[in-house]
């Protein structure tokens, strides 16, 4: 019982349960598959937002190029699905049957070497994790070792996003160009376009999201999480406590990029195509705003942020498309200026304290570890559950 209580506290399980209830029970029951599929799409952005909470909220590393990793994950998955959709029987009318249609249009006569391994689903799954992680490592290792941070890092990630977009569009024989990779049909013979498939993929997406949430929570609760908070304000001190700061930054950035890539892969599966529009600067910045709206220090907040902003975008653009950009812009400015900790900040500072005690999270926000030292050495709290911490960060 104690152990369970401990888990509850440590992972904010009650909050997780509410989210799970919402995503697994309430939404699927109250929505048709069209809307639910949309929710599934929003959730793929939530993966990116969760990653941003880790690397931006906790690590202080703002990346304006998360779309790059979303895209890499998505493209890996899309390459596999496209190869399956381009079987020689399906593409018999082409000059070269058996290669994707856009390659045929671009006069390629054989599959490029880097496409070959994507015939294997196992390799594809590995690639979805490893390719973005490797890419993130290459991009960051030089910079973090040389202590490039903050604004400079943000601008360089932006440039990386620009480079990759131009490359993908320019090398259309290999990548599908600006159209992206479209018309994906089956996964191991299973038609991913049917309603049943959409339901199943939605639940897979939710399950993976919770896996990422738990990994994120674990990282934040670990000493590494506290080190990130420490690094954000006193990088030198961390270094002089004997930690290789760059290694931690590289790790958290790679982790965030892997989360983004999983989101991208789930996007491809649920929506049925992948295109370079995700890799660019604009979607990358939008993903930052999902995270900011939800609260840059709250993993769960990031999920709600992604859901709410996108739901608002969809409903707004159905009724007043012109107003949408105004609303979006105002949202950016408002959140940054008035609520730097987003919805989660509003919740912990304004709403939660007024709730009856039993509705609050199991660990009262004021609990801090030394209580653990004197009473039960097991309990602990997370930085995100501590409103003073968040509030103070707002002023930094």
């Amino acid at each position: 019982m104690n152990f369970i209580a401990h888990l509850f506290a440590r992972y904010q399980l009650s909050h997780m349960l509410i989210l799970a209830l919402l995503l697994i029970v309430v939404l699927p029951l109250s929505m048709d598959i069209f809307r639910l599929n949309l929710i599934g799409k929003y959730l793929t952005y939530a993966f990116v937002a969760i990653g941003l909470v880790l690397c931006w909220g906790y690590g202080g590393i703002l990346s304006l190029g998360q779309g790059v990793f979303f895209g890499l994950g998505g493209y890996c998955m899309a390459m596999f699905l496209k190869l399956e959709a381009s079987s020689p029987e399906n593409t018999a009318i082409q000059t070269t049957p058996g290669i994707p249609d856009f390659m045929d249009w671009n006069q390629l006569t054989e599959l490029p070497w880097f496409w070959e391994p994507f015939h294997s689903f196992g390799f594809t799954l590995l690639a979805i994790i490893l390719v973005p992680a490797f890419f993130a490592f290459v991009v960051t290792v030089a910079m973090f070792k040389r202590r490039v941070g903050g604004v400079y890092f943000a601008i360089i990630t932006q440039a990386v996003a620009a480079i990759l977009t131009i490359l993908i569009i320019g090398q259309q024989g290999y990548t599908g160009g600006v159209n992206g990779i479209t018309d994906l049909r089956t996964l191991h013979g299973w038609d991913i376009r049917t309603d049943e498939a959409k339901y199943i993929l939605y639940f897979v997406c939710v399950a993976l999201l919770f896996v990422c949430l738990f990994i994120g929570k674990y990282v934040i609760n670990s000493k590494l999480g506290r080190l990130l908070v420490a690094m954000r304000e006193r990088e030198d001190r961390v270094r002089f406590s004997g930690y290789d700061v760059s290694a931690f930054k590289i790790f958290i950035f790679c982790l965030a990029s892997v989360f983004s890539a999983i989101g991208g892969a789930m996007f491809t599966l649920q929506i049925g195509f992948m295109s370079p529009t995700f890799v660019g600067i604009v979607p990358s910045i939008e993903m930052v705003i999902f995270c900011a709206v939800g609260g840059r220090l709250s993993l769960l907040g990031a999920v709600y942020g992604a859901l709410l902003v996108n739901a608002a975008k969809t409903s707004f653009s159905e009724s007043f498309p012109e107003l949408w950009l105004f609303a979006m812009g105002a949202l950016f400015i408002g959140v940054v200026m008035a609520f730097p900790n987003g919805l989660a900040g509003v919740w912990t500072t304004y709403i939660e304290p007024r709730l009856p005690a039993r509705l609050r999270s199991p660990v009262p926000p004021s609990t801090i570890p030394a209580v653990a030292v004197t009473t039960t050495a097991e309990t602990s709290s997370t930085p995100s559950a501590n409103p003073t911490v968040e509030h103070r960060h707002a002023g930094n």
Partner: protein
Amino acid sequence: MFADYTMTELTSIFAMQGFAGLTLFSVFVLMALGLAIIFGQMGVINMAHGEFMILGAYTTYLTSNVFSSYLPESLYSLYFFVALILAFLAAGALGAFIEWAMIRHLYKRPLDTLLATWGLSLIMQQLYRTIFGPREVGVTLPDWLMGSIALTDMVEIPINGLFVMAITLVVAVGVGLTMQKSRLGKQTRAVVQNRPMASAVGINTARVDRLTFALGCGIAGIAGAAFTMIGSTGPTSGQLYIVDTFLVVVFGGASSLVGTIASAFTISQAQSTMEFFLSGSMAKVLTLLVVVGILMLRPQGLFSLKIRK
């Protein structure tokens, strides 16, 4: 690739290509100067910089319309000069307002200025779209700006390119003098180096911030007005410039105006040379890659003093 051409042809092409590089250089300097002031001196990242430029472009468009509708035709050839000044004032005034309403609350959070100004850029884009329509507007140029000077049969120097260079020169010298000699410039540098101390010796730091930001935005406005000669004017045109501009500033070593100019020169020459030998897309990718690569190895940029931390 040159075997089929005569020496004269090659010489003239290289001359023209050099000029093309210089034009690109001027364009980069104009784009980057305003940003270099705001980012380099104040540490604020203005993602709406492109939209301030387009404000200048729309101001030029409006001025041209007013001149052609209400003023005698003889004055029309001069409208561009009026437009340049109006563009500076319009963008500067908006900049001052934005600084007051938004930026000054965020000085301690540079990454957040980035997000807030991105929001601002969305709003400005939609405003342009609502006011001027989603289509590009055609800015009519006075005739004297349109032609070219033929030096030889092959070598023709575009007048608007020369004019852009002239504007760039004037603006760059003006900014240099302002920052080095004028009261505002000295105060700005004082505030950059030590804000509390500057405040203690009686400098109104809030006013300096506002004027610096307004100056940066005003220069963006001039850049936008100048770009009507060579580029398009539409609600989203500004976004095209933002990545290039930031890279020029960062590559130059953010706090140094000389660095910005040197970096604009390096990048523009590299890009224009590569464009000639490779395809346009690959030239762009290669230029960006080299710049990013160098920045990874030398994060402080081309020009920066080695200082005690």
